[in-house]
Structures are given as structure tokens and as C-alpha cells.
């Protein structure tokens, strides 16, 4: 109580000063008391200052506590989110690959509790050594390989093989991204993994299944078509007209089945990234004329005219003649198929160019030279909302289904795949009820 103390001291000085007869002692006492009083006053002043400081200090500490609480809450939110992820592994490492974050998803996927891994193990220890530089080399080189692409491009997603604690191998799609600290400096790496083992196995099984089925279907089709040919071409025992008509129908349908098997196999190869072709110079003008010839009988039977306009000197591109022919046949047969009786189809081939933005033009401006083939029909058209899905396997436009136009929805998928493999593009413009134009642009 500094204020009270100073008050008592001052009161004492006043009392003694008022009492006569004891001058020396009194003076001394007064001096002492005055000194005490002064000291008390200063002490009070100092204590007040300290009190203020303490008050100030208390508010700073409170602020700190609030901030700390917020930080803790945020960290808790982050941790609870990461901990709630049980189907994906989230592994955070420092810049050398030492594990710092190991979520329950990682515990579950790799079979090791957090306590056994964090700050103890390097992430490369959980990767199939076959996919990284030799294990007897420096661990740093292995980790550098792991993050190389993410370092180069800012992030990287691909399949890696993880090794679990019980020795299983998992195919995991891992997204690798850099992890930064509070100052924005790179503190390490994040590895977010999804177990794709079953998905990839199913994909492989599907590919094998399609190959097997294709082979198993092709073999009996070989017999059917071969023996039909022998019967139809037997000059010594000619068929009656009726017999010939029936067997020709059988043959036509066997050929249809064969095309379907071929299309299925081809689609599976494209999906599996196994589509390869042999490149040579191909005259697209000849390809377009051949496609018109193939469609001629069907078109004529329905009164659909097919006009062909190709450069006199031809137009050569690099590619696979058989596959380009298939792409062209698909577009032309589609155009005829989707055009009502009496309509028309126009095939137009001409040189053009692709500008920097990727748009194609028919003039001589700057850009990459391309061959442009447009196939325009006066058919039933494709609703605008469905045009984006046209190139998806087994997709059929509502107009096609409504008008009962036969097909399975593989032709355009295949045409697009062939075009893409040749470095080209396939675009469509269409108006329902008025017609459709497909434009194929191939580099030349």
C-alpha cells in the first residue's frame, strides 16, 4: 500500500514538528521521516509505473494467447481434416524426404502407425526400388528422382508402386506438390496417394477380355466367311438366285459382325494406349474418292447424292492409309446414314493452315499447313447440348435414337482417335433438322 505508507510518514513529520523541546532528535526524526516519506512517494510512483507495465503486459499476453488459440484451432482443423482422410494417403516430408506428416490413410494403406514413421523413415523406403535409382546409391538421388517432375512442373501426378509393411505392392496414383512454410519458403513435399491397384487390375482385365473375345469371335467368323466364299464362288455347282440372295445376306451380316469386332478391339487398343500405326505418304484425295465409292450403293438406294470435290493434283499427308481410310469411311457412311432420302452429302478436300491459336483457315496466311476435309450433310443434325459427347464410346445422339438410325456409337470415337494419333483435329458444327458438317484437319 504505497500511498497509505507515504501518508503515515507525512503525518508523523507533521506531529513531531509541532512538538517543542526535543530539537535534535526531533529534527533527526523529521529528516528520517521526511526521507521515508519521499522514498515512499517515489516507490509509489515506481510501483504505479510497474503496475501500468504489468497491465500492458497482461494485455499483450492475452493477445498472444488468443493468437495461439486461433493457431491451435487452425492446426486442429487441418489435422482433423487430414486425419479424417482414410482412403487417401497424405504424406508430408521435409526437403530430403524424411516423413513429417503421416495421416490415417497412409497408416491404413501402408500398414504402419504414425509413431513408427514420422521423423524416422524416408518416403523412398515405401517405394518399389525398381522404380527409383539403385538402393545402394545415395538416398538423396532416389528422392530427387521421385520429386524430379514435380520440381520441374510445379506438381506431378502418376502411378507409383508403394510397398506395404506386410510386403504387398500397391499401384498408387500419387500427386506430388511442394509444401511451403509460413514465410513461403519450400519446407518439403506433399504426397497424396489413391490406391489404384484394383482399378488398374480391372482395366488390364478388360483389355485382356476384349482381346480374347475379339480373337475368339474372329476365328469362327473366318470359317463362316471362308466357307460362304467357297459356296458363292463355286462355278461347278452354281446357286439358284434365291440361294445366292440368302447367302449374300448371311455374308453381309458376318462382315458387319466382323467390323464390330474390329471396332471394339481398336477402341480397346486406343483406351490402353496401344494404338500404333505405320506412317507413309497418303494421298487424301484418293482416300476421299474411295470413301465415296464405298458409300455410293447405299446412298443411291436412298436417293442421297454424294458430291466430291478434291484438288486435281491430290493432297498428300503422312499417315496410315488404312486407318485414314477407316476415318474417312466412318464420316461418309455416317453422313449418308443420317441424311433422309433425297438429301445430299458434300465431301470437300482442300489445303489450309492452322494458326498459332489452333484455329484452321482455308487461306495462305501464316501457320502450319494442313489438309482440310469437310463432310457436310443435309441430315437430321445433332442437338447442341449433345455435341460435346459425340466422341465418347457408345454415345448415340437422341436424334439418332429417335429416328432409329442403326449403329453402336463407336464410329466417331474411332475417327477421333485416328485423327488425334495423326496430330489432327476433328470438329463438328450442326443444326438439328438442317444438317451436320464434320471438319477433319490433318498436318501435311
Amino acid at each position: 500500500m504505497p500511498a497509505a505508507l507515504a501518508g503515515v510518514a507525512l503525518a508523523g513529520v507533521a506531529v513531531l514538528a509541532a512538538r517543542p523541546g526535543t530539537p535534535v532528535l526531533a529534527v533527526a526524526a523529521v529528516v528520517v521521516l521526511a526521507t521515508v516519506a519521499e522514498l515512499a512517494r517515489r516507490l509509489h510512483a515506481q510501483l504505479t509505473t510497474v503496475g501500468d507495465l504489468v497491465t500492458q503486459g497482461r494485455s499483450t499476453a492475452e493477445e498472444l494467447e488468443v493468437a495461439t488459440r486461433m493457431m491451435r484451432a487452425r492446426a486442429q482443423t487441418m489435422t482433423s481434416v487430414i486425419d479424417a482422410v482414410t482412403e487417401q494417403s497424405i504424406i508430408g516430408t521435409d526437403r530430403d524426404g524424411l516423413v513429417r506428416v503421416w495421416n490415417p490413410g497412409a497408416e491404413r494403406m501402408l500398414g504402419l502407425p504414425r509413431a513408427d514413421v514420422v521423423r524416422l523413415r524416408n518416403i523412398v523406403e515405401f517405394h518399389d526400388p525398381e522404380e527409383l535409382p539403385p538402393a545402394d546409391g545415395p538416398a538423396a538421388a532416389r528422392f530427387a528422382t521421385l520429386v524430379h517432375d514435380a520440381e520441374e512442373h510445379g506438381s506431378d501426378v502418376r502411378d507409383w508402386t508403394y510397398l506395404t509393411a506386410d510386403g504387398r505392392q500397391l499401384t498408387v496414383s500419387v500427386a506430388i506438390t511442394p509444401r511451403t512454410d509460413d514465410d513461403g519458403e519450400q519446407a518439403g513435399w506433399n504426397f497424396v496417394g489413391t490406391d489404384m491397384t484394383e482399378v488398374r487390375a480391372t482395366e488390364r482385365l478388360k483389355d485382356q477380355f476384349v482381346s480374347l473375345i475379339s480373337h475368339e469371335l474372329r476365328t469362327p467368323l473366318s470359317s463362316i466367311l471362308g466357307y460362304l466364299e467357297l459356296v458363292l464362288d463355286d462355278d461347278e455347282q452354281p446357286l439358284t438366285d434365291e440361294q445366292r440372295q440368302y447367302l449374300t445376306t448371311v455374308e453381309r451380316n458376318a462382315q458387319r459382325l466382323l467390323r464390330l469386332v474390329g471396332d471394339l478391339l481398336f477402341t480397346a487398343q486406343v483406351d490402353a494406349g496401344k494404338f500404333t500405326f505405320q506412317s507413309a505418304d497418303v494421298d487424301l484425295a484418293a482416300v476421299v474418292r474411295a470413301a465415296e465409292e464405298t458409300a455410293r450403293v447405299t446412298a443411291a438406294a436412298r436417293g442421297v447424292t454424294v458430291a466430291v470435290e478434291v484438288p486435281d493434283g491430290g493432297l498428300v499427308v503422312r499417315g496410315d492409309a488404312l486407318r485414314l481410310g477407316q476415318a474417312c469411311d466412318n464420316l461418309v457412311s455416317n453422313a449418308v446414314k443420317f441424311t433422309p432420302d433425297g438429301g445430299s452429302v458434300a465431301l470437300r478436300l482442300r489445303p489450309g493452315r492452322r494458326d498459332e491459336s489452333g484455329a484452321v483457315h482455308e487461306d495462305d496466311g501464316p501457320g502450319t499447313p494442313v489438309a482440310l476435309l469437310s463432310v457436310a450433310d443435309t441430315g437430321i443434325g445433332i442437338p447442341a447440348g449433345e455435341q460435346g459427347r459425340l466422341f465418347t464410346s457408345f454415345f448415340r445422339a437422341s436424334t439418332a435414337r429417335r429416328n432409329a438410325v442403326p449403329g453402336v456409337g463407336l464410329g466417331l470415337t474411332i475417327t477421333k482417335a485416328i485423327t488425334t494419333a495423326h496430330g489432327g483435329t476433328l470438329d463438328v458444327t450442326s443444326a438439328e433438322g438442317r444438317g451436320t458438317t464434320f471438319t477433319l484437319a490433318l498436318p501435311r
Binding site: H215, L221, S222, G226, D233
Partner: protein
């Protein structure tokens, strides 16, 4: 007149084997043996020393490609001409067949006319 070209046919599908045999005869050649797997094909080739072997690629046991390699590796049969038939028609399949030492490769399903033409061509060729 030259003796007709002697042909060995190997395919695990009986219907195809018979069809190939018919085509071979249509081409004016003789079928000296018709077998259903790779091991029999190799044995028959060594016993009969045919001029031409028409081989299916996918057969049980030894595949057509393996038989073709073995024929080429054996001095007694290295001179046979080989025509491979296969359900695989991709450029990779054809390349594998020709790398194995085949003289020609015909994807299934083939037309009888196409097979007759191919057999005639190989029958006239000298290895």
C-alpha cells in the same frame, strides 16, 4: 512340268485347317500333312520337308512364331517357305511374324481368293 508344291498346314481349328487345305489345292498344290499344334507341325516339317508351311500363329503349346523360328534354326527345314495366318492384324503383329522369319503374313479372317493367291505366289518363289 514341275512336281506340285508340297504344303504342310497347321491350325488348331479343324474348320480353318480344312478351309486352308481347300485353298491350297485350289492353288494347285498338294497338302502333305495337316496338323493341329506346333509340336506336330515341327515334327511333320522335319519328316516331310515340305516346300511351304502354312502356320496359324496362336496354337496350343508351341506357337506359330516359335515353330517358324525353329524351322529357320534347323538346316534341314531352313529352306521351307512359311506363310503365317493370325487373328492379330496390327502392324506390331505383322512385324513380329516377319521378324520370326515368315515369308508372308495373312491376317484372319482371310478371303479364300486371297489365300489362294498368296499360296500360288509362295509356291512359285524360291527361297
Amino acid at each position: 512340268m514341275d512336281a506340285p508344291t508340297r504344303v504342310l498346314v497347321a491350325d488348331d481349328e479343324e474348320d480353318i485347317r480344312v478351309l486352308v487345305g481347300l485353298a491350297v489345292r485350289k492353288a494347285g498344290c498338294t497338302v502333305v500333312a495337316s496338323v493341329a499344334d506346333g509340336a506336330q507341325a515341327l515334327a511333320a516339317a522335319r519328316a516331310e520337308l515340305p516346300d511351304l508351311v502354312v502356320l496359324d500363329v496362336s496354337m496350343p503349346g508351341l506357337s506359330g512364331l516359335e515353330v517358324c523360328g525353329a524351322l529357320r534354326g534347323d538346316p534341314t527345314t531352313a529352306g521351307c517357305r512359311v506363310l503365317l495366318l493370325s487373328a492379330g492384324a496390327s502392324p506390331d503383329d505383322v512385324a513380329r511374324g516377319l521378324t520370326a522369319g515368315a515369308d508372308a503374313y495373312l491376317p484372319k479372317p482371310f478371303t479364300v481368293a486371297g489365300l489362294v493367291g498368296q499360296v500360288r505366289e509362295l509356291a512359285g518363289a524360291q527361297r
